[in-house]
Amino acid sequence: MEPQLGATVTELVRSGVGGTQPSAIRTILVVEDETLVRMAIAETLRDAGYRVLEAASAEEAMALLVSFGNIAVLFTDIQMPGALNGAALARLARRHHPGVRVIATSGAAAPPGLDADVIFMAKPYPPEDVVRRVNDLLGRHAPG
């Protein structure tokens, strides 16, 4: 059973269950209530080699931010139904998880209260542009 145990330990470390992030594979949290848009962005980021977590609302995103200590980038839509919109989520993420970089997106103009270090992307955009912005933000040309 040694190989299975090895795989288990590797997975636990990689998944951040131990609360650390020794792996070079960076984790991106994509928050978008439009299913097809979320899926397209998530799949494109996965194809680029990132580990991607998906949230359909800001509330789901908060649960993932708390449970996974290794999220490098939060990519969130600003207009979302529910008690929290993407701008509020970005503020909470920056306050409680200062290591998380944030990209916010909207079909409207950037809201005035957005933190200065939050990158804004106007909709529409091709999913490949998201990969490019994430690569730029993480200071790498290719994830790995």
Binding site: Q4, E11, T44, S67
Partner: protein
């Protein structure tokens, strides 16, 4: 983007409104080699199933949903509208973990990456950290 039908990789859609369960099951199935889509509600899954550009082979769905259509009704809808799609219902995170393990046994890589109990333990740990009384077996 690769949402078109794939000749090699089967696509599973995981439907669960509990994001911590959905994420753990989806990541496990991805590590088995499946392409995995995620839906937070039955209605999201139905939208994906109705989209001609999205190819789906299997639906793995929770039974209970806090809002909207539950897993039983989703199953009925799939049977009537997309009968070629296989549906697996799971009433608890434990059943979802074991259903995912069984899918891994016949999946693209023909082996489980690790024991499904690891997935379940991880789900329980995450749920307990968020809601101390939220254990589910």
């Amino acid at each position: 983007m690769s949402l078109a039908p794939s000749a090699q990789v089967e696509t599973i859609i995981v439907v669960d409104d509990e994001v911590l369960v959905r994420t753990a099951i989806a990541e496990y199935l991805r590590s088995c080699g499946y392409k995995v889509l995620e839906a937070a509600r039955s209605e999201e899954a139905m939208a994906l199933l109705e989209d001609d550009e999205v190819h789906i082979d299997i639906v793995l769905s929770a039974v209970s949903m806090r809002h909207g259509i539950d897993g039983f009704a989703l199953h009925r809808w799939v049977r009537e509208n997309r009968p070629e799609v296989r549906v697996v219902l799971a009433g608890t995170p434990a059943r979802a973990s074991h259903a995912a393990a069984e899918l891994c046994d016949s999946g693209p890589m023909l082996q489980r990456p690790y024991d499904p109990q690891i997935v379940l333990d991880r789900i329980k740990r995450m749920l307990a950290a968020r809601e101390p009384s939220g254990e589910d077996e």
